[in-house]
């Protein structure tokens, strides 16, 4: 009787664990599938594609408007855009922490056309 009740208890324990684990993992898998579906949805997809094309456009603009090896100062009130221009200058120009040591000042300005609503502005300080 003791052994039998132990086996019954074990079966119940197995069922509880398997159910809890399966449900928890299943819910997370469901969430993952939703996340992927959202990423592939038309709204998200179009927005991300536009942003990436904008980034590639700025990357090319820097290479066409700034001489290779020039020192540049990136000026933008919007810090993510400042970081992005600094990042995209890598391997081409040399970002400077201050305008005093820079040959060119880079900034992104609103513009129709160009890089999806943004244009690169290059000026001598």
């Amino acid at each position: 009787m003791g052994e039998r009740s132990r086996q019954v208890g074990k079966r119940i324990g197995c069922a509880v664990i398997a159910s809890a684990a399966a449900v928890t993992l299943g819910l997370s898998v469901h969430h993952g599938l939703q996340t992927t579906a959202a990423a592939l949805g038309p709204a998200m997809s179009d927005r991300q594609t536009t942003l990436f094309r904008q980034e590639e456009c700025l990357y090319q603009a820097i290479r066409s408007m700034v001489p290779k090896g020039a020192t540049v100062y990136v000026d933008s009130p919007y810090w993510p855009l400042m970081q992005k221009l600094t990042e995209l200058s890598t391997l081409w120009a040399v970002p400077q922490p201050s305008l005093a040591t820079a040959q060119y000042k880079l900034s992104a300005v609103s513009a129709h056309g160009d890089c999806s609503g943004i244009a690169l502005e290059v000026r001598r300080p």
């Binding site: 398997a18 993992l25 993952g32 992927t36």
Partner: protein, 512 residues
């Protein structure tokens, strides 16, 4: 497709021999080889920064040296290509196919060229620097204008991206993102195959003739008698596939955007599963070490977490014995930690040598410790909703399935929970002593810094699921027979498990 090509040819091919030497014929080999290659390319980036040269030249030197060393060791030790006693060919193929198919679901999001946040400001920026060669890398990392990019972060993800640029040029910057995401998927594959291997835990690391295709017990005969083989394996493979989707679910869109948090986290989870959960063997230890190296070379929190995991692995494989102060044993334990941690520690030393420091610890915070502690605990708890479920499963499992877990020769769950608590303690301490305003810092990061803790708990649930299914299909008589067979097998052949120590079988009892 280009990134997949670089993953297979650029990282997988140079990493296949070291991975084969470690994992033998095992499903994990498919996912471990690119990670081993990524570890080597990260070491090459360290050399590029510290010594000179370009990434490709340094990577060639590192890859050739590593493969020659493995070949020499293999010949010297007369290692055979004998498979370790894991699942059969059929189950190995099924495991790989299921894990690949499951990983392909979240990877489908790579069709959209998403990038942003750290994916831009840190990882793509550093990938371009690494691609530029020694002078570019050194001067850019020291350039104050790049301080926003956390220049002291390790270079594994950027080096993989730079390798892709070396293959295909700078025409598509998203290649760097693709590489990071694919490596994360490989890390999840290592975790998943570890969960699948748990279904053959009792025969793990044994000689093929001793139950190579058995279930969780020590022999094929037993498995057939118990009837637990097919359902257990099916559950294990399903759980292996699930964890691949779960990893991306936990990290959300960040991982698809090129963040490296999931990569270090799943590499560290792989180290826990293979080093602290699966039965002790040289192969499992080797896989765990490679995972720890990858975690330590991916992010700073990966290094600290990997060191904590390596300490636990050292204590599991070299338990505290009398006399406690035996110098040789402590030297072995120290080597168990220092050797795999060496690449990560070398990076930490190198960045300090060239004057790079973490931006988070430049200034002290004006907030009180109580304020920071309260906010940190609340912030972390909000992302650990799975913890109560896993804790309940742990308690029920320890009450009803302790013998099944022992029979499967899986490690005591206390090891995994110690790693989990250790990682959270490190995270808590980081938020406490860091300089940024705590609420903003938590909002920006805690959902990513807790990925390791979350995925580890889901992996633990998957392991318990496998044990529960096996327990449900194991008959009482075969269970008792298994215990007797296990004891007899261990007593008759102390080298059965092929571990690094001849007396590890005796110590295994203490391990549990």
């Amino acid at each position: 497709m280009k990134a997949l090509f670089v993953l297979v040819v650029g990282l997988g091919a140079p990493g296949i021999l070291p991975s084969l030497a470690v994992a033998r014929r095992s499903p994990v080999l498919v996912f471990l080889a690119p990670l081993a290659g990524a570890g080597m390319v990260a070491v090459a980036a360290e050399i590029e920064l510290g010594v000179g040269g370009s990434l490709v030249a340094d990577y060639a030197v590192v890859a050739v040296a590593a493969n020659l060393a493995v070949t020499a060791w293999w010949l010297a030790a007369r290692r055979s290509l004998r498979p370790w006693a894991g699942p059969s060919w059929g189950w190995s193929i099924v495991t790989v196919v299921v894990v690949l198919a499951a990983a392909a679901v979240p990877l489908d999001a790579l069709r959209v060229p998403m990038i942003g946040g750290d994916g831009n400001s840190i990882w793509l920026t550093h990938a371009l620097m690494v691609y530029g060669g020694h002078h570019e890398l050194l001067t850019d990392l020291q350039n104050v204008a790049y301080r926003f990019s956390n220049p002291d972060y390790p270079l594994l993800a950027p080096a993989a991206g730079a390798l892709a640029f070396a293959f295909f040029g700078l025409g598509n910057l998203h290649l760097a993102v693709d590489m990071t995401v694919l490596l994360s998927a490989c890390g999840l594959g290592v975790v998943g195959t570890g969960i699948a291997v748990a279904a053959s835990g009792g025969s793990q690391g044994g000689r093929p003739s001793q139950g190579g295709s058995g279930g969780m017990g020590p022999s094929r005969k037993r498995s057939q008698q118990s009837g637990g083989r097919q359902p257990t394996r099916a559950a294990a493979v399903a759980a292996a596939g699930a964890i691949c989707v779960v990893g991306f679910a936990v990290s959300g869109v960040f991982e698809i955007q090129g963040y490296a948090d999931l990569l270090w986290a799943v590499a560290a989870v792989g180290a826990v599963i293979w080093g602290l959960v699966l039965p002790q063997s040289a192969q499992a230890l080797g896989v765990a070490w490679i995972c720890a190296v990858v975690a330590s070379l991916t992010k700073n929190e990966g290094l600290t977490t990997a060191i904590a995991i390596l300490v636990l692995i050292a204590l599991r494989y070299r338990p505290l014995t009398r006399p406690v102060l035996a110098a040789r044993r402590w030297a072995e334990r120290a080597a168990f930690v220092a050797v795999p941690a060496l690449p990560g520690l070398a990076w930490a030393g190198l960045v300090r040598l060239i004057g790079l420091h973490d931006a988070f610890f430049r200034a002290t915070s004006p907030e009180s410790p109580v304020t920071r502690a309260g906010a940190t605990v609340a912030g972390m708890a909000a992302h650990l909703a799975v913890a109560p479920v896993d804790l309940a499963v742990l308690l029920v499992g320890c009450w009803f399935l302790r013998r099944d877990r022992e029979r499967a020769r899986l490690g005591n769950p206390a090891w995994l929970w110690a790693a989990w608590l250790g990682s959270l303690a490190i995270l808590f301490a980081t938020y406490m002593i860091g300089g940024p305003e705590i609420h903003g810092w938590l909002t920006a990061s805690v959902n990513r810094t807790t990925i390791f803790a979350q995925v580890l708990l889901y992996a633990d649930l998957a392991i318990w699921l496998v044990i529960a299914v096996d327990g449900a299909f194991t008959r009482a008589d075969s269970e008792q027979r298994d215990v007797g067979q296990s004891a007899a097998s261990v007593a008759s052949n102390p080298r059965r498990t092929e571990t690094l120590t001849p007396n590890v079988d005796k110590l295994r009892t203490r391990d549990r």
